[in-house]
């Protein structure tokens, strides 16, 4: 019907879309983006996941958004709209943070990069790009600071895994050993000058993210050069499927799952990224009240005891079968070879070792609260 067609939203594509299809990737609609979920040529999700744990994997994460704040009051603006303390950042340093609603719940989680003396870059989620930009722009008007949406300016490629530094070192004049985790620098990568190169990622593994110009031919050339350079390390192209299982093993939150506009910072267990000694950020008064009132539910890690896989949205039950919470993310964990999940449960069920059930197709299947993160990368490298 023509009327329905007219209202169908345009599906968005990254500059690497044609290349993904050419490689035979399975594509899915991810928050309005046509993205690779897995590459049969890489061996599928499990092979991609384990390549990142033991070698290196390459992801197109160009759907992520970027907001720049620059000007004399850029720091004040960032401090006002985010919960971590950006005043602690040196130039070239990044931090995990979140943008909050006045209720202390999440607009989005972000990585704040201090690019210069008065220059900050917020890297945000794909599904919340417009919402985030509008929120940041609306709530920083009072500051002498320019807010720009750079989301379409970059092709962002993540190179993740214990061999990521060896791979990327082949393609750059930067000394990557001098770039510590959650720091970044600029240098020549694949012959392109002044490329933002950060030691960050979403896989609970060592890794880098490079930000290159978003035109199709440059993006495709760099993607292919990275894959080629990675051959000797067994590098494979990785899709959103393994990105999700990797972040789940590392207990890294995903917007719309572990964090949302109805979950607050304390419930999500992100206390250490929320600096209450910092005055005047949006959400702080509500968080102070929430802390005083006490937590009613909290995010826990579950491991299935009986056979079954907990999936997003499944109910969590107590041992007698009463509904007590819900699963936010759940999957088979390819590296740990266990069925794991994250879930919100009342405080009295949050102790390690607590027994609960997950309702799977009408049946209560036994699970246990376990320590998180499920996976922690080895200290070396």
């Amino acid at each position: 019907m023509p009327a329905a067609e007219a209202t169908t939203p345009l599906i968005r594509k990254t500059a690497l879309n044609a290349l993904h299809r050419q490689m035979g990737a399975k594509m899915v609609d991810f928050n309005g983006w046509d993205m690779p979920v897995e590459y049969p040529c890489s061996g599928g999700i499990i092979a991609e996941h384990n390549a990142v744990r033991t070698g290196v994997g390459i992801f197109d994460v160009s759907h992520m958004g970027d907001i720049r704040l620059e000007g004399p009051q850029a720091l004040d603006a960032v401090q006002h709209i985010s919960m971590n303390d950006a005043s602690r950042l040196a130039i070239g340093q990044a931090q995990y943070s979140a943008v909050l609603y006045p209720q202390g719940t999440f607009v989005d989680d972000v990585i704040v990069h201090r690019m210069g003396e008065q220059d900050y870059l917020l890297v945000i989620n794909a599904g919340t790009r417009e919402k985030d930009f509008n929120w940041v722009w609306q709530n920083t008007k009072q500051f002498d600071c320019k807010v720009t949406n750079l989301s379409d300016d970059f092709t962002q490629i993540a190179i993740q895994g214990p061999k990521s530094a060896k791979l990327l070192q082949k393609l750059t004049d930067l000394d990557l050993s001098a770039v510590k985790f959650y720091w970044f620098t600029h240098g020549t990568v694949c012959g392109l000058k002044n490329i933002l190169t950060s030691r960050t990622g979403y896989t609970a593994e060592d890794g880098f993210e490079i930000y290159i110009p978003s035109d199709e031919s440059t993006s495709a050339r760099v993607w292919e050069e990275v894959l080629e350079a990675g051959k000797e390390f067994g590098a494979v192209a990785c899709g959103l499927g393994s990105r999700n299982t990797l972040r789940l093993e590392g207990k890294l939150p995903l917007y719309g799952h572990e964090i949302s506009d109805s979950i607050n910072v304390w419930e999500a267990g992100l206390d250490r990224f929320c600096k209450m000694e910092k005055t005047g950020f949006i959400g702080r008064p509500a968080l102070e009240q929430a802390k005083a009132a006490g937590l009613k539910r909290t995010l826990v890690g579950l491991e299935m005891v009986e056979r079954g896989i907990a999936r997003d949205g499944y109910k969590v039950l107590n041992e007698s079968g009463r509904e007590i919470g819900y699963v936010t993310s759940g999957s088979y964990a390819p590296f740990l070879k266990k069925n794991i999940a994250m879930a919100y449960v009342p405080m009295e069920f949050s102790a390690i070792g607590s027994s609960v059930k997950v309702e799977i197709r009408g049946q209560g299947v036994k699970a246990q609260v376990v320590p998180t993160p499920f996976y922690k990368r080895p200290k070396s490298s």
Binding site: E38, P40, G241
Partner: protein
């Protein structure tokens, strides 16, 4: 991938091979490809009754949960227990990795199913090739 001509197929991507009054059931190669890495199979117990067109269990890949539908009615006589610990066998050989054996309650059920050639045509259309 060749679809065995002595199997019958459903539009939900199960196969069934009849042998007199008994039959063997699995999922097709197209199904395993669409699902990706299979990590879990939930099957009925021996003695359970299954009804044509109704859910009999499920198969899960890392990413997706998919219901299994009974291609015919009958009583479960055997379950492939090896799939509980090695569900990836289905990815390696979907047409050789059987899930259930049943005693058919009505062998006429199979007449309504697709032949190998018709199934192949059906998946070609479904996958847009």
């Amino acid at each position: 991938m060749a679809y065995p001509s002595d199997y019958k197929y459903t539009k939900e991507h199960e196969w069934i091979k009849a042998d007199g009054g008994n039959a063997t059931i699995g999922i097709t190669d197209y199904a395993q490809q669409s699902l990706g890495d299979i990590v879990f199979v939930d099957l009925p117990k021996v003695g359970a009754e299954i009804t044509v067109g109704k859910t009999l269990g499920s198969v899960e890949s890392v990413k997706a949960v998919s219901d299994l539908y009974a291609p015919a009615s009958g009583t479960v006589t055997e379950v492939n227990g090896a799939l509980a610990t090695a569900p990836e066998q289905i990815n390696k050989d979907a047409h050789g990795s059987w899930m259930l054996k049943i005693k058919l309650s009505n062998s006429g059920d199979l007449n309504a199913l697709l032949s190998a050639a018709d199934y192949e045509k059906f998946v070609a259309e479904e996958s847009g090739h």
